[in-house]
């Protein structure tokens, strides 16, 4: 066991997979310089071609990754900040997601696209996106949202070995968080939720950094005699609906916690799924806690309170129990 940060876990996964399979390579802006901290040492070990610094052209270099994947390479694209993916979205949607389908299975795109969500840090509207929900709406993509170092490593290794385009949204607020990682190799399957805190009164489904906040809330609620079950879906596409539905069957109450915007968000999708398939098990209306449908302001005096924290989650859970 080693106690390492989320970012170190990502770096380990990349290093191990690059050492295992020479078709795996890393590309993005400033990757060789390890500016963000997930590619340290890779340049020395694998050389400048497999740790490929790109010009600043997200749409172009995403197309390059896709073309390379078509001929047998396995690129890992590092966008650094998730907001920059918008430039690449044509390639992600029109090429990465559609090629396997549109060409009748003649090709497929085994590429990983990593993006960090840097919200809650005073970098204002254009750098603070939590945009995984947008890509859940694109069939052909897989969407991964790790919430701790252990998951970050295991899910990234699975993503690299997956034959399809996988988008990994890393929560920048978690990059420095430490966690236990086993010394032996492990991979985490997609489509398997993690029940982080078992409980029987209310189900809390939380995404990325909201998982930690929800666990804190569950611990606080436990002291008041409220038993909350916290579920981390780990992957939004595919989504482990069975685990969520089973939990709701037991608790009769669902709270979904999401740092993304409210409209057409992941929380709304999970809520709708439970409303459709688990309605008769519900004892109270489903509740969503999300960021408001508002742009992200710069001043921390303004941004504070935008993302559901432990206190807000606990309050919402209590309200659900009282309904």
């Amino acid at each position: 066991m080693a106690n390492i940060t989320f970012l170190e876990a990502v770096a380990q996964a990349q290093r191990e997979e690059m050492a295992r399979d020479e078709s795996v390579f890393l590309m993005g802006e400033d990757v060789s310089g390890n500016v963000y901290g997930s590619s340290g040492g890779l340049l020395d070990e694998f050389g400048p071609q497999r740790v490929l610094d790109t010009p600043i052209c997200e749409s172009g270099f995403t197309g390059v990754a896709i073309g390379a994947a078509m001929v047998g390479m396995r690129p890992i694209v590092d966008y650094t900040i998730a907001s920059f993916m918008y430039l690449a979205t044509d390639q992600l949607v029109s090429m990465a997601a559609k090629s396997s389908y549109m060409y009748g299975g003649q090709t497929h795109i085994p590429a990983v696209f990593r993006a960090a969500m840097f919200y809650n840090g005073g970098i204002a509207a254009q750098h603070s996106d939590r945009n995984y929900s947008m890509y859940m709406n694109v069939p052909g993509l897989k969407v991964v949202v790790p919430s701790n170092p252990y998951d970050a490593k295991g899910l990234l290794k699975t993503a690299i070995r997956d034959e399809d385009p996988v988008l990994i949204f890393e929560d920048g607020n978690l990059w420095g968080q430490k966690g236990e990682i086993p010394d032996e190799e492990y991979l985490l399957p997609f489509g398997q939720a993690n029940i982080c805190h078992a409980g029987s009164d209310v189900t809390i489904v939380a995404i990325a950094a909201r998982v930690g906040e929800s666990i804190k809330a569950a611990e606080a609620l436990a002291k008041e005699g409220i038993s909350a079950e916290v579920i981390d879906p780990r992957t939004l596409v595919p989504l482990d609906t069975a685990t969520i539905l089973e939990s709701v069957a037991k608790t009769g109450r669902l709270l979904v916690v999401d740092q993304g915007h409210r409209t057409c968000g992941a929380a709304g999708e999970i809520a709708a799924m439970v409303a459709e398939k688990g309605f008769w098990n519900l004892q109270a209306p489903i509740k969503r806690l999300t960021a408001p449908d508002m742009q992200i302001p710069f001043s921390s005096a303004l941004e504070r309170g935008f993302y559901p924290d432990a206190a807000m989650i606990a309050l919402a859970a209590r309200e659900l129990i009282e309904e």
């Binding site: 749409s59 073309g67 982080c196 596409v237 595919p238």
Partner: protein, 347 residues
């Protein structure tokens, strides 16, 4: 000539390599022309869903460029790409079946006219998002460079596509990394109804290559051999590891942007202009050029064979079954999406 041979010479008994190459070019140009003529008829009779963009008039550059490649080289096309896979050596049966949305189509009925792709001959797919194939071609070339093979990627794109950011990003990366890619601009003068001179300040798209330190040339796209020679040189340069080249072929499409009545009464181009280009038809020009080296009877025989091949392709496509409705739900993912019920951990 003879730099590259991407077909089976042995079938051309008694001919020199040059002669057989010329005849194969002629055959493929004929196939591209007659394929599109057949598509036009199918479209007019209401048999083709959606749209069809024909390259009648452009066969010289389509085939000239493709024939400069090796069989194991890659090629990326666009929305106007029935001919590109044919040029690259694809069989016409599965292409025609795809046009009709049949299960035997190259894409099993999932792509259609704008997305024909035959990966078995290195045709990496046509993308109908204008310009989006450019970086994908650069990526295929990067893959070849990383894998240490000497495959070259040929990327077709239109004059209209050259105004997308993709073009500039692709040129820059290809030049920067000295990638084995050849950019072939099919400058047919228009993007839909907008003439090039109302979309770009410079007349020649090739002039832009200088901005990326990349050599370029302008060729007469109606002269198959001129295109072949320029692309052969570019392919050799790419294979040597010296990086990309931009070849601009000046050409013309006889049909409007796409089939159907939409463009019937449009005046964006004149009848005189069209008539002038038709005098320089790439098939006619090529036939004239071949007169010295190939017997006219051989050319006629070839025309007849192409006619039969297209008829057989139509027959094949017509007879092929439509895909079963449940096929709409296949091929989205290669690694199946399975949901395994959650595990309990302490987070």
């Amino acid at each position: 000539m003879c730099a590259a041979v991407n077909f089976d010479i042995s079938v051309w008994g008694g001919m020199s390599v040059d002669q057989s190459l010329l005849l194969e070019m002629y055959r493929r140009m004929g196939l591209v022309r007659q394929f599109d003529e057949a598509v036009q008829k199918l479209f007019n009779s209401g048999r083709i869903p959606g749209s069809a963009h024909l390259s009648i008039g452009q066969e010289g550059e389509v085939v000239g460029a493709c024939m400069a490649l090796r069989e194991d080289d890659y090629m990326v096309g666009n929305h106007r790409s029935h001919g590109h896979p044919i040029g690259k050596g694809a069989g016409v049966n599965a292409l025609m079946a795809e046009i009709l949305g049949k299960s035997t189509g190259v894409n099993q009925g999932k792509g259609g006219s704008m997305h024909l792709a035959d990966f078995s001959v290195g045709s990496l797919g046509e993308s109908s998002i204008v310009g989006s194939g450019l970086p994908v071609a650069v990526g295929a070339a990067l893959g070849s460079q990383m894998q240490g093979n000497d495959r070259v990627t040929l990327c077709f794109f239109g004059d209209g596509a050259s105004n997308q950011g993709y073009f500039h990003e692709a040129m820059n990366m290809a030049a920067l990394w000295k990638l084995p890619v050849v950019f072939l601009c099919e400058n047919n003068g228009y993007g839909v109804t907008t003439p090039n001179n109302r979309a770009a300040a410079l007349e020649d798209i090739s002039a832009r290559a200088a901005g990326y330190g990349t050599p370029s040339s302008i060729v007469d796209g109606q002269q198959c051999l001129e295109v072949y020679d320029a692309v052969t040189e570019a392919v050799e340069r790419a294979r040597r590891g010296d990086g990309p080249t931009l070849v601009e072929a000046k050409t013309y499409r006889y049909h409007h942007h796409s089939e159907g009545p939409l463009y019937d009464n449009m005046t964006y181009r004149s009848d005189e202009e069209l008539a002038a280009w038709k005098l320089r038809d790439p098939l006619l020009l090529f036939r004239e050029q071949l007169a010295d080296s190939v017997a006219v009877a051989d050319l006629d025989r070839m025309d007849e064979q192409v006619k039969q091949d297209i008829a057989a392709a139509l027959e094949f496509a017509e007879q092929s079954p439509l895909p079963e409705p449940e096929e709409a739900y296949t091929h989205l993912y290669r690694t199946p999406v399975v949901v395994i019920e959650g595990e309990l951990s302490n987070g």
